[in-house]
Structure formats: structure tokens, C-alpha cells
């Protein structure tokens, strides 16, 4: 069973709100870098970046991070070489305030992996987490700094965030698995 929780306007409002909160937290966009976690986090990071630029009239670097090789729940060979895929390659995160952007915060394992991947490429001044949905059920001591919406969920449910860029529609759905 699929239930739409948020439509496009609601999702856009949340992104704008997160944008304002980022400015509020960092008192501007100085030394700020946005890093989206592939796939949907990348698009969300770019959207936040565009909005920051509109408001502050300054370009905020936006990167994308592929954390596949850092995951602890999917890796087959524990000794496999870890490749950090931070795009663009010349993105400097050392001494920057990095905001990791993802669609859903669940167990916290993705963010843990992303932090490892980030730190392998540089030493940020700080790392914060922005997510569109926090659905609870953490398995690691991780907390989001910027949250679009808290959605209390059961373990038997799934939260799907759709973004226009690849899904053709902006929406958040709650899927009940049987």
C-alpha cells in the first residue's frame, strides 16, 4: 500500500526552510560546502545550493559522494579497497563546514559511511547532516541537524522520496510492506 505524505509544494517548502536554517546556523555561507549522498541526496544538495546562491548571491560549492565501498551492510569483501568517490574531484573540504545532504535518515549507517568517506579525502572543520525525512530507528549515535519532516514509521514500512530529476515527480511516499 502506498500513501503519499508530501506533494511537490510541501517538499519544496521544506527545502527552502532547510536553506534558511543553514544560513541561520552558519551566519551566512562562508566556508560552506554541500555534499549530497548519491543518488537523490545529490539532487537535493544541488537544489539547496541553488537557493543559497539566490539568497546570498554567493556560489556555494556542491559535491556528490558515492559511498558504496564504505557501506557496512552491503560490502561482501571486508578487505576490499575503499575508493572515495567525491565529485568533482577538485572539491576542497579541508577546513570547510560540510553539510551532508540525503533524502531519508534511517539507521544512520549511510551517514556513518559518508563521514568516513569524507574524512578520507580531507579534514572538514565540521560536518552537519541535512535530510528531507527522518524516519527514526537509528542503529548508530547519529542525529540530523536539519530535518524537513519527522515521519514516525514502523519497521515494516518504507519511505520513498521521489525527485523530479530522475523520478519525474517530487513527492514523499510511505509504503507499507506486507
Amino acid at each position: 500500500m502506498v500513501k503519499e505524505i508530501w506533494d511537490k509544494p510541501a517538499m519544496q517548502r521544506a527545502i527552502v526552510r532547510i536553506t534558511y536554517e543553514i544560513i541561520e546556523r552558519y551566519k551566512g555561507v562562508e566556508d560552506l560546502v554541500l555534499v549530497g549522498i548519491k543518488t537523490r541526496g545529490g539532487y537535493l544538495a544541488r537544489r539547496i545550493g541553488d537557493r543559497l546562491e539566490e539568497i546570498e548571491k554567493k556560489i556555494v560549492p556542491v559535491g556528490e559522494l558515492d559511498i558504496t565501498s564504505y557501506r557496512d551492510d552491503r560490502r561482501v569483501d571486508i578487505n576490499q579497497e575503499k575508493i572515495s568517490n567525491l565529485e568533482p574531484e577538485n572539491l576542497n573540504i579541508t577546513n570547510k563546514h560540510v553539510v551532508l545532504v540525503d533524502d531519508v535518515l534511517y539507521t544512520g549507517r549511510t551517514i556513518r559511511a559518508a563521514m568516513d568517506a569524507l574524512i578520507a579525502t580531507g579534514r572538514p572543520k565540521s560536518i552537519a547532516v541535512a535530510v528531507l525525512v527522518d524516519r527514526g530507528h537509528r542503529e548508530l549515535p547519529i542525529k540530523a541537524d536539519f530535518v524537513g519532516k519527522n515521519i514516525p514509521t514502523a519497521l515494516s514500512e518504507q519511505v520513498a522520496v521521489n525527485v523530479e530529476e530522475i523520478d519525474g515527480i517530487d513527492s514523499i511516499e510511505l509504503i507499507k510492506l506486507k
Partner: protein
């Protein structure tokens, strides 16, 4: 019976009377809304003003108890081209002329409102007097020129005592500069427990109530008379999420070092396009303001402009860079007008919830 509008520049408009049989003076302003005359007339932001409707026919759907925006409107007069003679609507309880009679507000119809509005657009807002005789026109217009009609107007429209609007969820303190009921309706819809305080409330009085959020309401007159309120905001914004609407927006701007100016003829009506800078989205908004925040006076270090008017680039929305506080010049509560921007109340709610969440973890 004949009735006249005499303006401070000496011009005289001759028309027919309706509504109450009395004389009154006020700032002559115009609204471009095609409907919503009852909400406009009962809107306290029109206190001490004579309102000209650009729509040629008003009053055609009568007056409904549920659509009041305040109980004791302080508007000084209503001018239109024609009042409907046979209003008809299933919701109406009375007609516009009878309603104005009860409230002792004079009306004037049958003048060329197009010409009058053109004049107001060229000269800017003018003071005027609705009267039954034009004999003393010269002395009236001279007297109008010297009077400052709207001085201290908020003192007359703001509540004298605080009162609760009970709800069960978030605790909101509403500061009344001349509040429209629709703002309270929007808060009630979101189940807020509100306490409405007079505009003289101090920061200490507000913070002693331990609110989750503070809303600064709309209101009439010159924002620069509200220096005490601006001082209150300077203290409150440090502690509590804050949302300002219309006058509240201007007071918020003053509190953070910006200044305001009197616009030539203001924005009144509800077909004003506003662009949200972050997204480029355009929303149509209900507006009623004769003053605006001067964009040059805004300190970019602590405020950011979030919304601008599309036609003349007036500042329509601000947000604080350090505290959870924001404000809009237009009316997100609409009534009358489009509800394009009522989500701002939801933003205020999530701002409050976010804050509560942080306090719980801290």
C-alpha cells in the same frame, strides 16, 4: 441625498449618500480587490482611512456574520461607483448600507472612481472628508492639509486588555497592532493556544508567559511610532521564534536596524504578485500597506530579503540570519484574497517544533 468628497488639494467629488448619515475625515486610499469588501471594511489596518473600491459594483452579496475581521471597525468611509440595490446570497444576514449605518460609517457612491484613483496614483495618498455640504470646501481642504490623521491610531485599534484564544497545542503570544481575525483563525486551525496582548506589551511580559512562538500582527499607521514595540522585538527575537505580518514585519525590520518610508499610494488589494527569492516562485497575495521597509537600510549582516513585489520591487519578506525569526509584508492569512502563501503559518509551526526539539535534546 447628495454627498461630497472634499480632498486636501481642493477638489470636490459629488455623489449620492449611503450608509450612515454623518461626516468623517480620513486618508483616501484605494483597494483593487474585486470582492471581499466586508473583510476590507472590517480590517483594522484601514483605520482612519476612507476606502475607495476600484471595482465598480460592491455590496452584491451582502454582509455575513462569519466574515468579520474585527468587531469595531475604525474605517472612516467607503467610496464606490455603485452599491448593489438588491444583494442576494444564501450566507448574507444584512446588506452593506445597513451594516455601515449600524457602524456609523458614511458611504459615498456615484462618483467616477476611475478618475479619483488615477488622481491618487499620480499625487499619492490624499486626505479627504466625506460631507453633506460643499459650502466650506476651501476651509475644509486647508484644515485637512494641516492634520495628521493617523497619529496614534494603533492605540485606538489595539486591544486594551489581553485575552486568550484557547487551543491545545503550541503556545503563541500574539501582539495586537490591530489584528485581523483571520490571523487568529489560521492559528486556531493549527490548534494553537493563543494569548493576545496589547501592542504596549514589554519583552518581559511576553517572555514571562513562556511562549513557544510570538506573532506580531498587522495594523494601521506609521511603523516609526512603534519604537517601544521594536525594543520589545529586539529582546524577544533572541529567545523565541518570531513571525511578523504587515505592521509586525515593519516593526521587526525597525528592531533590526532597518528603516521604513511612506509609499506614494501603497499596496491595497489582493492581486499583488510576490516572488520568493530562494525559489523564484510567484504567489499572489493579499496586501494592505501604505508604508514599506527601505531595502537600502537593511543590514545584510543580520537580515535577508526573502520576498519582493514583482511590479515595484518593494521588500515583502525578511528573515533574520541569526535567530529563528521572519516576517512578511503581505497577508498570508488572505481574507480577502488568495491563499497562495498560507503555508507560511506552517513554516512558523515547524520553526516552533524544531526549536522545541532542539531544547529537548540540549
Amino acid at each position: 441625498m447628495k454627498r461630497y468628497l472634499i480632498l486636501e488639494d481642493g477638489s470636490i467629488y459629488e455623489g449620492e449618500d449611503f450608509g450612515a448619515d454623518c461626516e468623517s475625515s480620513g486618508e483616501v486610499v484605494f483597494t483593487t480587490g474585486m470582492t471581499g469588501y466586508q473583510e476590507a471594511i472590517t480590517d483594522q489596518s484601514y483605520a482612519d482611512q476612507i476606502l475607495v473600491f476600484t471595482n465598480p459594483l460592491i455590496g452584491n452579496y451582502g454582509i455575513t456574520l462569519a466574515d468579520y475581521e474585527s468587531l469595531e471597525p475604525q474605517i472612516k468611509g467607503v467610496i464606490c461607483h455603485q452599491v448593489a440595490r438588491h444583494p442576494d446570497n444564501w450566507r448574507m444576514q444584512t446588506t452593506l448600507p445597513k451594516f455601515l449605518k449600524q457602524l456609523k460609517i458614511p458611504g459615498l457612491q456615484g462618483i467616477d472612481t476611475r478618475e479619483l484613483v488615477k488622481k491618487l496614483r499620480i499625487h499619492g495618498t490624499l486626505k479627504g472628508r466625506i460631507t453633506d455640504s460643499k459650502e466650506n470646501a476651501v476651509s475644509i481642504s486647508q484644515e485637512l492639509k494641516q492634520r495628521n490623521i493617523t497619529q496614534g491610531v494603533i492605540n485606538r485599534v489595539s486591544t486594551k486588555n489581553s485575552y486568550p484564544v484557547p487551543g491545545s497545542k503550541r503556545n503563541i503570544v500574539v501582539v495586537d497592532f490591530g489584528i485581523k481575525h483571520s490571523i487568529l483563525r489560521e492559528l486556531a486551525e493549527r490548534d494553537c493556544n493563543c494569548i493576545v496582548l496589547p501592542y504596549t506589551a514589554t519583552a518581559e511580559e511576553i517572555l514571562n508567559l513562556n511562549p513557544d512562538g510570538v506573532l506580531l500582527s498587522n495594523g494601521p499607521g506609521n511603523p516609526e511610532e512603534m519604537l517601544m514595540a521594536a525594543k520589545m522585538v529586539q529582546e524577544v527575537e533572541k529567545h523565541v521564534p518570531l513571525f511578523g505580518i504587515c505592521m509586525g514585519h515593519q516593526v521587526f525590520a525597525l528592531a533590526n536596524g532597518a528603516s521604513t518610508y511612506k509609499m506614494k499610494f501603497g499596496h491595497r488589494g489582493f492581486n499583488h504578485p510576490v516572488r520568493e527569492i530562494a525559489t523564484g516562485n510567484i504567489g499572489f497575495t493579499s496586501q494592505n500597506h501604505g508604508y514599506a521597509v527601505d531595502p537600502k537600510s537593511i543590514n545584510k549582516g543580520n537580515l535577508m530579503i526573502t520576498h519582493v513585489e514583482v511590479n515595484d520591487s518593494t521588500v515583502e519578506g525578511l528573515r533574520h540570519k541569526k535567530y529563528p525569526a521572519f516576517s512578511v509584508q503581505f497577508h498570508p492569512d488572505a481574507t480577502p484574497g488568495p491563499h497562495d502563501e498560507d503555508s507560511l503559518f506552517d513554516d512558523f509551526m515547524s520553526m516552533i517544533d524544531q526549536r522545541k526539539e532542539e531544547e529537548r535534546h540540549a
